[in-house]
Amino acid sequence: MKLKTLKQMVIRFLVIGSIPLGMQLVAMGPESSAQGVDSHIPDLAGIWDGTPRSRPVNGERVPWGEENFPDLNARAKAYQEVWEEIMAPKYDCQPASSPAIQYDPYHMQVTQWPDRVLLRYEKDDQLRTIWLDGREPTSLDFSLQGFSRGYYEDGSLYVTTTHFVFDIAGFDDYNGIPSSSQKVVTERYWSEGEELNMTLTVEDPMFFNGPVSYTTRWLPAGEDYKLAAYGCDPEASRASVRFYPSKYD
């Protein structure tokens, strides 16, 4: 408990100390002044366990089940008609992205710096940077993980991610639901007891008639746990594809 308090003090010291160094975060609006002096900055740092120890494993009805399954528009349904499992780019080692990577049953490391939060995913060796300094994305910032901006408020970290590239399985590859460059993912992270909690919302007017959300949690990883390198192997990734009876054969 004492260690946690010390970590919070260090984070606050770094944040406040960065202001005279020209970052001028307080002058920015709430979207960009994540680290304003008045904000309650939660201590979210650490390695978090997202394996079945913490929550049910993802699948056709998890985390998108009866209660929160998206209302798909005609365009999305047309994609679903064409879809079959082995079209998923993951079988060629393309990494998962939001909103799937957060729910994959692996560990995640959170690092909090004054101007950014780093989310490192064991699955697919992915690193997301949440910028807290108010910077704006440019047209060069489209990527698989998109461009993320965030701020702290009332003990939570709020993140908005835009600038995703089109992905034929970018919403959910278990149900063949794509995502577009209009996808916007918002996340709220907060700690409760020993748990890290997150509510994630997806909007994508190209394919959905409204926003959808799920909430999940991580438990602290074992004391000496270190993230392992994933190093997706193309042969291992495609090895089961030949067992799939394709409707196009």
């Binding site: 366990d49 394996t51 120890r53 494993v57 993802n58 699948g59 056709e60 499992e85 082995i86 998923a88 993951k90 079988y91 080692c93 994959d104 049953p105 692996y106 064991e122 590859d173 278990y174 074992g222 000496d224 746990y225 392992a228 994933y230 190093g231 997706c232 192997d233 042969e235 291992a236 990734s237 090895a239 089961s240 030949r242 067992f243 799939y244 009876p245």
Partner: protein, 139 residues
Amino acid sequence: MNSYRNFLVAIFVAGMVLLGYVVPGMAHHASTPFYDPETVVELQGSVTRFVFRNPHAFLFLDVEDENGQVSEWQVELGAPVGLRRVGWTPDSLTVGTVVKLSGRKSRAEGSQGVCCVRMTREDDSPIVEGGGVREREQN
């Protein structure tokens, strides 16, 4: 009722994993599009290759049928990143090791694949001795 049944299944599977007989999985993809849960095969074969790489480890076996014909079967295992946590390494299965297993057969016509296996060595001992103990220590 369903949740109670799921609970009992979870307890059973957890027990078998701790005993080292069930190979833990790690969701990268669903198994049912590739493997039929209603068609369970039992095999005994000799390891010809063990691919211990993410996203899924694979084991290749030479299996002799009742007519003495030998053919290759491909066994899908969990993600090495998860298998390592319960004591598996790339050396857990060496070429020539004989294993016995049961699991779901692959769906594509003529294919010889298995997933979701319960597997032991030829003498019924677990593949990884003490793997469950290591898992408890980590968590």
